[in-house]
Structures are given as structure tokens and as C-alpha cells.
């Protein structure tokens, strides 16, 4: 067959159109610019980087062996307290998140002001770290698990509320319309139309958030909000590295157990 005629332009192919290429290039450029800008101005002392592996090894050596004896008197109660903080905090968060999630879902609540307000609340809740929330509540209620529980609650509302809102927005229209056509009250539509649809997602979100809350509760004590974090804080301040080790191990164990529990419950109910 004929070779490609030299007078004909060879056909070309590009993966992306010019417009797409421009957009992608812009992103790549922005990323590189951000990296360069950050690297240039971040204050990092080179000697510290060189020293780091040695320091880490030193630290790990000092943490071994973990102080097993310390567990019963120093760790166990605090660990349980951490669990309670996480659980109660998540419960409170769910209670607050349900109305906010309903308000934020544009198909359930047709009022744009309510949507906006709810979204603003949820975003703010998520933007403030649980540790920072803990700081605030320690200032208000004083140190202790109350501050910790409220911190977990207020941080989790955003997470649960946002995902709940999204789950609500994704419910298929047809079922809701059928209910509304029967003249059902708004509350009934919620209970019998939306709730069965979002129920699996709801439990999944709740479990997921509880899992994360357990991890977060462990550190709240660092700012005085109760739980194992306080034991960790004092052990570190006193340079009792072997106690630090046992505390870290305890936290690790609780996190693993929590994951198991969550996976098991998930399998059973979903």
C-alpha cells in the first residue's frame, strides 16, 4: 500500500485537548511553585536532619523495654476513660449531626439559608482540630474528661453531618416522590422514605467516626482534656521513656481492638 505521501501532513494525536493541557499545566506549575516556595522559606536546620537517625535510634533505645508494671495503676483507668470519651463524644456528635445533616441536604430542606447555615456549621466543625476544640473546652469547663467529650463531639459533628447530608442527597428521587404523593407529612417522609435508604450509610459513618474518635481521644489529654493523653504528657515531661513506651503500646492495642470491633460489627449489620 502507499507510503505516507510526503506532501501530506502526518496525522497527529494528543491525549488531551489544548484547553485541558493548559489546565493541567497550570496545576503542575502551581504544585511546583508551592514546593519551591515552601522549601525556600521553611526554617529547617540541616544539622538536625543529619542528626535525626541517630536521635531516633537513641530515643527508641531508651523506650525499651516498656514498663509493664506501670500499666495497672497508671494506664488502665486512663485508657478506659479515653474509650468513654470517644463513645460519649460520638453519641453526642450523632445527636447534633442528624438535624444539621438534614438541614444541609438540598433535597430534604429546600431553604437555601438553612442549607448554607448548616453547611457553614459543619465546615467550621471540621476545620477546627479536635485538639484545638479540646483547648477551648478546657478553657470553658476546666481540665478533665468533660472537655474531652465535648471536643470529640464538636469535631465529629462536621464529619458525620457532611457525610449524612451527602447520603441524603444521593437517595433516589422516585421513592420519595411516591411517599409525598400519598400526602405523607414531612416527618413521615423522613422516617419511612429517607431513613431506610441512608440507614446502612448512617451506621457505617457512625462506626467509622467512632474508630477515628478513639484515636483522637488518646491525644486530647496532652492539653488536659482527660484520657490517656494526660498520662502520656506527664511521662514525657518527666522523661520516663519506658512508661511512654507502655502507654504507646496500650494506645496501639486499643486502636487495633477498635478496628476489629468495627469490622466485626460492620459485617453483621451491613
Amino acid at each position: 500500500m502507499t507510503e505516507a505521501a510526503t506532501t501530506l501532513q502526518p496525522r497527529t494525536w494528543h491525549r488531551f485537548t489544548a484547553g485541558q493541557r493548559l489546565a493541567r499545566f497550570a496545576i503542575h506549575l502551581a504544585i511546583v511553585a508551592a514546593i519551591v516556595a515552601s522549601l525556600r522559606s521553611v526554617e529547617v536546620i540541616p544539622e538536625f536532619i543529619a542528626d535525626a537517625p541517630q536521635q531516633m535510634r537513641d530515643l527508641l533505645q531508651r523506650m525499651w523495654p516498656p514498663d509493664w508494671q506501670y500499666y495497672p495503676k497508671g494506664v488502665h483507668e486512663a485508657l478506659m476513660e479515653t474509650l468513654h470519651i470517644a463513645s460519649l463524644g460520638t453519641l453526642l456528635a450523632i445527636i447534633m449531626a442528624v438535624p444539621l445533616g438534614i438541614m444541609a441536604a438540598r433535597n430534604v430542606t429546600q431553604n437555601s439559608f438553612a442549607n448554607l447555615f448548616a453547611r457553614l456549621m459543619l465546615v467550621s466543625s471540621r476545620s477546627v482540630n479536635s485538639l484545638v476544640w479540646a483547648l477551648l473546652f478546657v478553657g470553658i469547663f476546666g481540665p478533665g474528661p468533660l472537655a474531652g467529650t465535648l471536643a470529640i463531639a464538636f469535631r465529629s459533628v462536621g464529619f458525620v453531618g457532611k457525610l449524612l447530608g451527602e447520603a441524603l442527597e444521593e437517595t433516589p428521587r422516585g421513592m420519595i416522590e411516591a411517599l409525598e404523593a400519598t400526602g405523607a407529612r414531612h416527618g413521615a417522609v423522613l422516617q419511612y422514605g429517607y431513613w431506610p435508604q441512608v440507614m446502612p450509610a448512617f451506621w457505617s459513618i457512625a462506626l467509622f467516626r467512632w474508630d477515628i474518635s478513639v484515636r483522637e481521644s488518646a491525644v486530647l489529654g496532652l492539653v488536659g482534656a482527660g484520657g490517656i493523653g494526660m498520662a502520656l504528657d506527664s511521662a514525657m515531661n518527666l522523661f520516663q521513656w519506658q512508661r511512654v513506651a507502655i502507654i504507646l503500646l496500650a494506645i496501639f492495642a486499643v486502636v487495633i481492638i477498635t478496628e476489629f470491633v468495627v469490622t466485626a460489627v460492620r459485617k453483621r449489620i451491613l
Binding site: T2, P10, R11, W13
Partner: protein, 262 residues
Amino acid sequence: MTAAQQVTVGATAALSVRGLHKEYVPGQPVFRGIDLDIAGAGLTAIIGSSGAGKSTLIRCINRLVAPTSGQILFEGVDLAKARGKPLREARRRIGMVFQEYNLVERLTVMENLLTGRLGYLSAFTAWRRKFPAADIERAYGLLETVGLTDFANTRADALSGGQRQRVGIARALMQQPHLILADEPTSSLDPKTAVEIMQLLAEQGQAAGIPVLVNMHDVLLARRFAQRVIGMARGGIVFDGSAEALTDDMLKTIYGGEQWLH
């Protein structure tokens, strides 16, 4: 420029299978003692009931499945034992068409075609998508041949089954193969499209002058398009001859039972 090549497969067989044996569970072979020679342009159909080992055999030829023992000689390389570079170089000379098209769904038709050239390019060139101009030309040419010029930049998962299989065939042809394997290429298609696809396969094989080896379970299609038919049953080859020689009695031997024949 279309995909027509003047590749002459000489008197020596392009593909020679000797004593091929495959078992997944020890003691329960899928097939054994398979001897086969494929040479010259033309379509060879392998027929047999499900589980007779047709698909496994085809997949052993380009080593997607590893045979338990035996020899698969292709252009001087024993594919049963080859590894690494020699295996890849042999594979790029064998084009394969799959029952479920196996296109990369998220890529466009054009990109799927160009994956046919991956055996000839370095990973770096491929990553940067800097395909040689000749490859691009060939791709456009093949798109014309299979009648999908308008779909060059459509995503593969937006196509119908028949269209996807055309892309699959075009992808195989992009490799400039010396042999085409097809594993039940029409089983997922409606009867009319199935005929069109078999037609395309047969024509393109002839145009390129290369053998086409097709697994199929539709005997009518086999009779219509294949010059040679191989029947497999109970782990072995029980028939190897022209499509004309395929009598009803022979079919009974291959598939067993009579009800389905009439």
C-alpha cells in the same frame, strides 16, 4: 496506509505445539498430549464443549497461563519456558482478541489501539505518550479499516459490544503480529455482530498473510469462516481437518449428545 503487510510465513510452521499438558489439580488434567502445527494464512477454529480446555490451550500459547509440561515453539522460541525479555518479544508478535474485549475502559479508543505498540516501546516513552508518527498513522489507518474513525477519542466504555471488539481486533493488528489468537471473540455478541466480527478477523488475517487461531463454540460460524477445524474433547484433539470434513458424526464425538444438532 492500512495494516496490510507482506509478511510471508514460510513453509515452516509459525507455531508448533508438542506434547502440551496442563493440569490445575494434580491428577486431573485439563488437556494432555496436545500436538499442533499452525502455518500459513487462514483461519483455524478450535471447537469443543465447555471445559474441554480450549480457552486454557489458547492462553498457554502466549503464556498467559503456564503449561505444566510440553513445548510451544513460536519463531524459534519455546514459549513454555521463555521468561522476561524473550517472552515479551514473542508476545508482541502475537495479537490476542478476548471474549470480553478487555479494553482499558477509561482510556479512549485511540489510546487502547496504541497499547498494542507497548511491546515495542520503552516504558518511559509510553508514559509520556510520545508514540512514533508511524504508529499514529497506523492507528488511524486501522480505525478506518474497522470502521471506527469517528470514535478515535471516545472512551472505550462508551462503545457497544461489537464496536469494542473491533477496537480489540484493531489493537491486536497494531502489534503487526505474526499470529492472531482469539478466545471466543464472538461469544458476548449478538448473532449479526458475531458474523461481522468473524468476517473482519478472517479478512484481516488474510490481508496480513498470517494465521488466525480462534476458539469458538458456534459450530455454524466455524464452518462458515474457518479453513481448518480442530475439535477438542476429553482433554485431547479428536478432530483436525477442513471445515468440509466436519461431519455431524464428528460433532457428536466432539460435543456428545444429539439433541442440539437439529
